[in-house]
């Protein structure tokens, strides 16, 4: 049953939504991953999608840019339906998006400079290379990596790779950026740098952001709104305070990072961790 808070959030978002998802269902063979998802993304705000690993967060994110097609349901961008468009038609729509992939997805064979130039070169005829180099410099400065233009992705750390990928994602001045686990695999300081960049981009460029994460510290810091997915369904939708005080046990368990009784029961099983399980029977010390 939807709460009053969730209804208010929905009504408010419908007026100013940049992306709208209606009754989205996604199945991989017989496995149901997303089950009738309805979601409105408000323009200029940061929406964070949280949920346990494997609950369909990334799958949902990829549907918003139609990298995946729904089994049924509809996706709208600026009130235009996009899930049924051909790839060629989608290419134009996708220039309004920036996508930060989990591992960065930088092109290994290209330098940092060429990675950032890539989307520009694909959509514009570059005549003034000096101006492009200035642009690359400014994009890298936004993520704190000016001076790394000639590095190759293999020479960068995980955090630097994500920041370069973010610089590439904003190369075309997108209206919306999709972040797939932007802080996963980073130490707390580097994670916070990414959070600050997300906030900075929203503050300075009024970019709409959708962040998929299971890092609650990051979620609380950047979110205007938090949506929780569980078993392919939205189980909670509201601001950070609303999520903190949500009565649903699954939400509380997730945001507090607690294992449930079933998991504990498995761990308590006798002999599970005993040495005998891991050594051959004829092993002699």
């Amino acid at each position: 049953m939807e709460t009053e808070n969730e209804n208010k959030t929905k009504a408010k978002n419908e007026h100013n939504s940049i992306i709208e998802v209606k009754s989205l269902i996604k199945k991989f063979k017989n496995k149901l991953v997303l089950d009738k998802i309805n979601l409105n993304i408000e323009k200029g705000k940061t929406t964070v999608v949280i949920g346990p690993s494997g609950c369909g967060k990334t799958v949902l994110l990829k549907h918003l840019i139609v990298l995946l097609r729904p089994s049924s349901g509809e996706v709208y961008f600026n009130n235009d339906r996009i899930d049924d468009l051909k790839e060629k038609e989608l290419d134009k729509i996708r220039t309004h998006y920036g996508f930060l992939f989990q591992g960065g997805a930088l092109f290994d064979s290209l330098s940092v400079r060429d990675n950032i130039i890539f989307p520009i070169d694909q959509h514009y005829k570059i005549t003034d290379w000096k101006q492009i180099d200035e642009l690359v410099k400014s994009k890298l400065a936004m993520v704190g990596l000016d001076g790394y233009q000639n590095y190759y992705p293999a020479k960068l750390s995980g955090g630097q790779r994500k920041r370069v990928a973010l610089a590439r994602a904003i190369a075309l001045n997108p209206d919306i950026i999709l972040y797939d686990e932007p802080t996963t695999g980073l130490d707390p300081i580097r994670s916070d740098i990414i959070n600050e960049i997300i906030l900075k981009l929203q503050r300075e460029l009024q970019i709409t952001s959708i962040v998929v994460t299971h890092d609650m510290k990051s979620a609380y810091k950047v979110a205007d709104r938090i949506v929780m997915l569980h078993n392919g369904k939205i189980v909670a939708d509201g601001d950070a305070d609303y999520i903190r005080n949500h009565p649903h046990p699954v939400v509380q368990q997730f945001i507090n990072g607690q294992v449930d009784e079933d998991d504990l029961a498995l761990l308590r099983m006798k002999g599970t961790m005993s040495q005998a399980q891991f050594l051959p029977s004829d092993f002699v010390q």
């Binding site: 840019i65 992939f101 590439r168």
Partner: protein, 269 residues
């Protein structure tokens, strides 16, 4: 058991269908790319990787094929007193069949495997999705330049193989076995026609496209993880290898039919 066979057959037919769709899209996009100057730097880069670095491998292959043929055939021909015609046998075999097929197989191993591994890694690290997310068609950016590079370069690499095969055969026949050089070349020139050389070179266009399309498809559809990429490389090589042999057979029939149509009397003589 019947259910398993049924599922495997269904999957196989499905895969053929997906490949046909991929191949059709790639062909259309490659034709467009061929006419767009913006794609030329990408094609040039691939030509350098695919062509220039493959020259030593295909030349070595050609030389050994020519030399081996000379060693194997000399005794039979010498027994009949026809050793001066050794050049005909070697050169026809090299330019028509062995040169093109073995060069293509070397390319399938050297280039096909590398293409699949590269695109497969890009696929599992979401780089192909990244290309799409930036509003670019990955077939236009990744597949078309590779298909065009192999289409244009495989025939040239086959010419290198043929040349080295001919030289290898000459070296063993004339230097090793002491066959008269003038007679060797004169018999070769009178029996090996331009048609025979052309057949081998034209085969290169088909082999090049087959290697590129199969390797790129396997890379694009490879499963996750290192094992997935490894499996895709193996499948790409095996499929390319079988396709080369099957295409060679089909082209032999087609070229023979063309030859009989245009030069019916010459073929009887």
């Amino acid at each position: 058991m019947f259910a398993v066979i049924g599922i495997k057959t269904f999957d196989f037919i499905n895969d053929i269908g997906r490949f046909a769709k991929f191949f059709w899209q790639s062909t259309i996009v490659s034709l467009n790319c061929f006419l767009r100057a913006k794609a030329y730097p990408l094609i040039r880069t691939q030509m350098n990787i695919i062509g220039v670095r493959s020259v030593p491998v295909v030349m070595i292959t050609g030389a050994f094929v020519g030399m081996t043929l000379a060693i194997q055939a000399y005794d039979q021909l010498a027994g009949m007193g026809l050793e001066e015609r050794l050049g005909v046998l070697i050169n026809i075999s090299v330019v028509k069949e062995l040169g093109p097929v073995l060069a293509a197989i070397m390319l399938a191993g050297r280039i096909g495997g590398a293409l699949t591994a590269e695109l497969g890694t890009m696929n599992v690290t979401e780089q192909i999705d990244a290309v799409r997310s930036m509003g670019t068609d990955p077939i236009r950016y990744l597949v078309a330049p590779r298909i065009l590079a192999l289409l244009l370069l495989t025939p040239i690499l086959i010419i290198y193989t043929d040349l080295m095969g001919i030289l290898g055969g000459y070296f063993i026949s004339v230097i090793q076995f002491g066959i008269n050089s003038k007679a060797y070349w004169s018999y070769s020139a009178s029996f090996v026609e331009l048609w025979d050389v052309a057949i081998g070179v034209v085969k290169g266009f088909f082999f090049g496209v087959a290697i590129a399309a199969i390797s790129c498809y396997k890379g694009f559809t490879c499963k996750e993880g290192a094992q997935g990429v490894g499996q895709a490389c193996t499948e790409a090589f095996v499929s390319s290898f079988v396709s080369i042999l099957a295409l060679n057979f089909a082209l032999a029939i087609i070229f023979k039919a063309i030859y009989f149509t245009f030069w019916p009397i010459k073929s009887i003589v």
